[in-house]
């Protein structure tokens, strides 16, 4: 009896597996790979919410016509936890098991670098919403992104600090275990020196998800007497660094990149991050109709204001779905060719792609004032 039950159970499992395989899809599956948990969790959640809005917009129109059939979009979301290994695993799972036709993601550069080769080798288009490391799209011609890249962000900040704030001595403190942080730090230093400034200290630490004590590095930086502290890391570490800097009586201004864009920055950092500046993709105060349309929809759906990550994921999904609609095909190569000729206005500015599949667009500089992000200026490429 027991044996019979076991055999029956095994057959049942097989039956379920085969049934789910043979189902003819009347939908287009699109993958979303984001860090829903871990140190960049708020980025992942925002990204998923932003992507969902673009998907809903297309589904409300009745879906995308593929060879005469209107197909609905079915997003498949998976969590990287910020870990490259896990990102690679869920990427393979989405392509092999879920049968996604294209992937939006990942957010963190180190995760995108892990999944880009997989997408490229399987001929699946991947469009990263927020990975700014230059290497990502160089992994192959199926890899795109909608955010600007590290050289630009580091360079913009160096120019802003040197030209607008008139500082000539800067220090950098970054996580040397993460491609994003290293990239920004490198290009900031390069441009700052090129302009005639001096990098008086360049310090690093390992793994911002585990490091909580930065006082050794900060004490060293303080002794070098910089006028500006550049922190191209993610919000949680930077908020802690700023707190500890203030504890060491370092009152100099500081700034970072788009990794600062999270409400948790001020929640953890409090007064310590007041007055700091950072470069970003998007400002909800921007009056352009595309931005305002997205901001209104996002507010209706989630009852809060969108951040840059949400708007980037929205743009990434939107440009991808438009490309599928335009080509009328879900084959990787067709989507790729259609994306290359894309030219549209999104929530994060005008989007078209250069020969390395990077977007050509502008950056905004924001400042933390009374715990809120205030729009300062726009910097063009």
């Amino acid at each position: 009896m027991k044996k019979f039950l076991i055999i029956f159970f095994i057959f049942l499992v097989f039956a379920i597996v085969f049934m789910s395989c043979n189902k003819k899809p009347q939908e287009i599956r699109i993958g979303g790979i984001f860090p829903i948990t871990g140190a960049a969790a708020t980025f992942g959640k925002s990204s998923q919410e932003g992507m969902q809005i673009a998907v809903d917009e297309f589904n409300q129109k009745g879906g995308i016509p593929i060879s005469g059939n209107k197909m609905l979009i079915n997003p498949v979301y998976d969590d990287t936890a910020g870990q490259p290994e896990q990102a690679a695993n869920v990427c393979r799972k989405q392509i092999d098991q879920n049968g996604v036709k294209a992937i939006v993601g990942a957010v963190m550069s180190k995760n995108s670098l892990a999944i880009a080769p997989i997408c490229q080798s399987k001929g699946i288009v991947m469009i990263s919403s927020a990975s700014t490391n230059p290497e990502v799209t160089l992994k192959g011609d199926h890899i795109f992104r909608v955010c600007f890249i590290d050289p630009f962000q580091g360079t913009v900040m160096a120019r802003y600090v040197f030209n607008e704030l008139d500082f000539t001595k800067a220090a950098v403190l970054y996580d040397n275990g993460n491609d994003y942080n290293k990239g920004l730090a490198h290009f900031f230093e390069e441009e700052f020196k090129r302009l005639g400034g001096e990098i008086v200290a360049s310090e690093a630490f390992t793994d911002e998800e585990k490091t909580v004590d930065f006082k050794a590095q900060l004490t060293k930086i303080k002794a070098a007497e910089p006028e500006f502290l550049y922190l191209p890391n993610y919000y949680a570490a930077d908020a802690l660094i700023m707190k500890q800097a203030r504890e060491l009586a370092m009152e100099i201004p500081a700034g970072g990149g788009d990794g600062w864009d999270s409400p948790k920055l001020t929640e953890i950092g409090g007064d310590a991050v007041e007055g700091c500046v950072f470069s970003n993709h998007f400002s909800k105060e921007n009056p352009s109709p595309q931005v305002q349309n997205f901001v209104t929809k996002y507010r209706e759906q989630y009852g809060k204001d969108p951040d840059a990550l949400a708007s980037l994921a929205y743009d990434a999904a939107y440009v991808l779905l438009s490309a599928i609609e335009k080509s009328g095909s879900t084959a990787g190569a067709d989507i790729r060719d259609s994306l290359k000729n894309m030219n549209m206005e999104g929530a994060t500015g005008k989007i078209s792609f250069d020969e390395n599949r990077n977007p050509i667009k502008s950056a905004v500089i924001l400042q933390i004032k009374d715990g809120q992000q205030k729009y300062l200026t726009t910097v063009n490429p």
């Binding site: 390992t206 585990k210 909580v212 006082k215 050794a216 590095q217 004490t219 504890e247 953890i268």
Partner: protein
């Protein structure tokens, strides 16, 4: 000069954090020869207990420490009773593997959404932060949080030494640590003494958790205990595992050398901990203050 002094203060702050944790490892090892890997996760529970009591119930600071210590102590005793006691007379490796299992269970269970969840949280300010410039001409600063850390750790250490060396239960603990069988022949309740040791060790982890939250004002995730746990464990080994003053010495040695190493080159910080460990173990395999034990056949 001021640079070196400031770094020394940073190192002492880090060492203070490791000291309370290292004590837990060393006490448990001293009494049942078990490396309690779950200790770092009990520390994590201490951090979260402090977080919740302080944010939801707005309990004042001294009470937060007490509540956190009690919660961790209870948890420690429960873990000891459920997971380690049934294996007491089994091969030592079984208990070690169990300890790893308990550790993984605590981390992953607490990371579930209905428990603490995996996301970053900010730790409330239990006392309004202030900083004092000591040695005006050098511009060296200490924070009141640092001073409170030192105070709490000193009080707990004095209490612990008194407990171990001047009370009956302390005498029992030392007796069981020396020889379980003989101690039980002489009328010591071995099980209860071991439970009591867990109770003290994990209570210290609870206190350490509150200090961690206060100092770094952020709670990363239920995995936050792993790193401090490893470093505290190394500190306990450097000091001579099983030896209580040794754990404190090892912790400060670790904290200070880590800070100095980091200030020379940022990449050296964690590596130096292992370098010191290796050197100490080569020169003195029992640790700095550890005594050689005769293995009885």
């Amino acid at each position: 000069m001021e640079y070196l002094i400031q770094q020394l203060i940073n190192g002492i702050q880090l060492g203070t954090m490791y000291a309370l944790l290292a004590l837990g490892y060393t006490m448990v090892y001293g009494i049942i020869r078990l490396i309690n890997f779950a200790h770092a996760d009990i520390f994590m529970i201490g951090v979260y207990t402090a977080l919740f009591t302080a944010t939801r119930y707005r309990v004042p600071f001294p009470l937060v420490i007490v509540i956190s210590m009690v919660v961790c102590a209870v948890l420690g005793v429960v873990i000891e009773r459920l997971a380690y006691k049934p294996l007491r007379y089994k091969p030592r490796l079984s208990a070690l593997i169990t300890a790893l299992g308990v550790s993984l269970f605590l981390e992953n269970f607490c990371a579930l959404p209905f428990m603490f969840g995996p996301e970053y949280r900010s730790f409330p300010e239990l006392i309004p932060p202030k900083q004092y410039v000591i040695l005006k001409q050098y511009n060296i600063t200490v924070t009141n949080v640092f001073l409170i850390n030192l105070l709490v750790v000193s009080v707990l250490l004095v209490g612990l030494f008194y407990l171990v060396h001047h009370t009956m239960i302390g005498k029992k603990m030392r007796a069981v640590s020396l020889d379980k069988t003989t101690a039980s022949l002489l009328g010591v309740n071995v099980d209860r003494t071991i439970s009591f040791t867990f109770l003290i060790g994990t209570a210290l982890a609870g206190a350490s958790g509150v200090l961690y939250g206060m100092t770094y004002t952020s709670v990363q995730s239920p995995y936050l205990g792993i790193w401090p746990g490893w470093k505290a464990f190394i500190a306990a080994v450097i000091g001579g595992i099983g030896n209580i003053p040794g754990a404190v010495v090892g912790a400060y040695l670790m904290g200070i050398s880590e800070v100095y190493a980091t200030s020379i080159s940022s990449d050296l910080g964690f590596g130096i901990a292992f370098a010191i460990l290796i050197i100490v173990l080569i020169v003195k395999p029992t640790g700095l203050l550890g005594k050689k034990r005769q293995e009885k056949v």
